[in-house]
């Protein structure tokens, strides 16, 4: 394999396709976007992730041109697009409600944007057919939107927004209306289509799993600010704040006081009567600083006896078990009353499960398993 990793954000030579420069958007007293700067590169599949009201949809509407920033610039290929109206932008959007025209057939819906460009009839028909093929909708071309299923409607909306070959495609919660199984299939389809067309995608979602699956980079937002922008694995493994660690996936947060113990290693005093924990961190902490150890449940081992040579080990008893089929999450209550979650794969049948409610167990993890965060 000789393929290079797709990471234009690490290349200082690369010119971003989209630049938000100190963009602020206020609605009356409410600040939806707060002095935000962000670069998005060509061919990226960029996810905006956050709870509702965090400003992610506003970001999308700013890109589409439905709203204009109160302050700052937005550049597309180096040009300020703030004064450009939505119908003149090389940006198309797939709406959360799909917004298919109910009075037009699937074919005419897809052709709608091309007709506005006065594309010659023959080219137009070819382009529509191409889009129908890409989204596997050939059979439904003559139907009206109310005559097809939700999944098919979603694909019509995608085909329609891709038909004009935009520089940038915006997807607002594109899979929100689909059921879980269909959503997962469609995620991969979306990635395939993105790769085939080479279009830059910006997706808005509140579903962190979806963002992790499809995106090349994820931006976690809260209250109009970017909290962290990174690849999905870095967001998961190296969150920069407790907020991000907590927002993405399941996590145990242990608060304590740090004191240095060797190079990049810290001792954390965290509870009365509990042995201090050990954790490595590239981020420096001064002695006595408050710190938070974020550790994922799957990185904690659960055992009946105290494991030898484990850097960290605590004892408790099983308080609750969340059985997910392939995995089980054990909620272990420590003597202090704190609950720590540990996750294991169910490699054995449930009848042969090693631990059950109220069993005394040991939890252990290495010094490198968790991330030490200041806030």
């Amino acid at each position: 394999m000789n393929s290079t990793v797709f990471a234009p954000w690490d290349d200082p030579q690369e010119k971003p396709l989209i630049r938000f420069r100190n963009v602020t958007k206020r609605f009356g007293d409410f600040t939806a976007i707060d002095n935000l700067s962000l670069d998005i590169y060509q061919r990226e599949f960029f996810a905006l992730l956050g709870p509702s009201g965090c400003g992610k949809t506003t970001m999308m509407r700013l890109l589409a041109g439905f709203d204009n920033p109160t302050e700052g610039r937005i550049e597309l290929s180096g040009q300020n697009i703030v004064p450009v109206p939505p119908n003149k932008r090389a940006v198309n959007m797939m709406f959360q409600s799909y917004a298919l025209f109910p009075h037009l057939s699937v074919w005419d819906n897809i052709a709608f944007g091309l007709r506005r460009d006065n594309m010659p009839k023959h080219d137009l028909a070819d382009r529509v057919e191409e889009m129908l093929k890409l989204t596997r909708l050939e059979k439904f071309a003559r139907r009206k939107p109310h005559q097809i299923s939700g999944g098919q409607r979603q694909r019509v909306a995608l085909a329609r927004s891709l038909a004009k070959a935009p520089k940038l495609l915006l997807l607002d919660e594109p899979l929100g209306a689909l059921d879980k199984k269909l959503r997962q299939d469609t995620q991969f389809e979306l990635m395939d289509i993105q790769e085939k067309t080479g279009t830059t995608f910006v997706i808005v979602t509140h579903d962190q799993e979806e963002a992790m699956t499809v995106a090349s980079r994820v931006a976690v937002m809260d209250e109009g600010k970017l909290i962290q922008v990174a690849t999905p694995d870095r967001i998961y493994e190296n969150p920069e704040s407790v907020y991000v660690a907590d927002f993405i996936g399941d996590v145990n947060i242990i608060e304590g006081r740090a004191s240095a113990q060797g190079e990049d290693t810290y001792r954390i005093d965290w509870a009365e009567g509990q042995a201090p924990l050990l954790a490595t961190s590239p981020r420096p902490f001064s002695d006595g600083d408050t710190c938070h150890l974020a550790i994922r449940p799957e990185k904690i081992t659960i055992s009946a006896d105290r494991p030898e040579d484990a850097a960290n080990a605590v004892q408790g008893k099983v308080h609750d078990i969340a059985y997910l089929g392939n995995l089980s999450t054990y909620h272990v209550e420590l003597a202090s009353g704190a609950i720590i979650k540990a996750q294991t794969a169910n490699t054995r049948r449930i009848s042969r499960r090693s631990f059950t409610w109220e069993d005394p167990v040991w939890l252990s993890w290495t010094a490198t398993a968790g991330v030490l965060l200041a806030n």
């Binding site: 589409a64 109206p85 119908n87 959007m93 109910p102 009075h103 506005r116 329609r160 927004s161």
Partner: protein, 296 residues
């Protein structure tokens, strides 16, 4: 049994309030004028038995319908009514659509109030409102006084007792019937459709023409029928606001009935009017049905 009863209620209603009166009117239209009470003959005499019924049917004929074709007053009145109904429907649409559009686009908290304002005139008697227009439009009326006071005109305009006054009256009276169905169609339209159209390269005007208008078409059709059908047979407005030159079939019918006391001819006029109205009514029903199917 219960089901039968439920179905029977609307049928009895239709039978008693539509079919039986229609049959009576049809019968009178086939009769002859007579100086008696009621002012037509024959009347059904059941005491004469079978022979009586036979005589009754033998005396009915289409004389009055043939009479209608003989005098050009009648077909001119039908044509003139059609023209006035079509024109006033178009005018109502032209005025009602922007109002409905404005209402549908207004902030949510305003819509109920705006709706109230549209319906409010119904709280006053229709006749009083038409009389009020006489006060506004007459030569010494408020409109002329205002225009002369501001110096726009020096001689009063003659509006009352012309077709213009009839148009004003019909448009004013039936405007809510146009506004409400269009508003209903526009109000439930998803706003993101317009954004999608703009996103795909439409200007505001194109988006309006290509998306808003087609999606409000059922409302436009419903509103137009609701104005056209009663306007065609309108009687009060042309007789109060119109002049001697205003020819409308509703007025002709009234005069036949009350001035000439010619019930049979008046009934014939009414039957023909009904036949003319059946066409738009059937079209209206089909429009409603198509809309219901599309909504499923």
């Amino acid at each position: 049994m219960r089901r039968f009863f439920l179905i029977a209620v609307p049928y009895v209603w239709l039978l008693a309030l539509f079919l039986i009166p229609f049959v009576i009117v049809l019968k009178i239209s086939l009769s002859d004028v007579a100086l008696s009470i009621p002012p037509y003959s024959p009347t059904l005499d059941l005491s004469a038995g079978w022979q009586g019924i036979k005589d009754f049917f033998a005396a009915l004929d289409f004389e009055n319908f043939i009479w209608l074709t003989g005098d050009d007053l009648y077909w001119k009145a039908y044509l003139s009514s059609l023209k006035i109904a079509v024109m006033s429907t178009a005018l109502t649409l032209l005025i009602g659509y922007p109002i409905a559009y404005g209402m549908a686009r207004a902030p949510e908290e305003w819509r109920a109030t705006l709706m109230m304002l549209v319906i409010l005139p119904f709280w006053t008697s229709f006749l009083i409102r038409v009389y009020a227009w006489m006060g506004i439009l007459s030569n010494e009326g408020f409109l002329n006084q205002l225009l002369m006071w501001t110096g726009i005109i020096s001689e009063p305009l003659t509006i009352l007792n012309t077709n213009t006054a009839v148009y004003i009256g019909i448009v004013y009276t039936y405007l809510p019937f146009m506004i409400l169905p269009i508003y209903a169609a526009l109000e439930r339209m998803d706003g993101s459709l317009i954004e999608a159209a703009e996103d795909l390269g439409c200007s505001r005007a194109q988006a309006f023409w290509l998306v808003t208008i087609p999606l409000s078409r059922p409302g436009i059709a419903a509103g137009s029928f609701l104005v056209f059908i009663p306007a065609l047979g309108e009687f009060v407005i042309p007789s109060l606001l119109g002049g001697s030159g205003t020819l409308m079939i509703g007025k002709v019918l009234w005069e036949e009935f009350f001035s000439n006391r010619d019930w049979p001819v008046a009934s014939a006029v009414a039957v023909v009017l009904l036949l003319i109205l059946v066409i738009p009514i059937v079209l209206f029903q089909r429009n409603q049905q198509k809309q219901a199917e599309a909504d499923q």
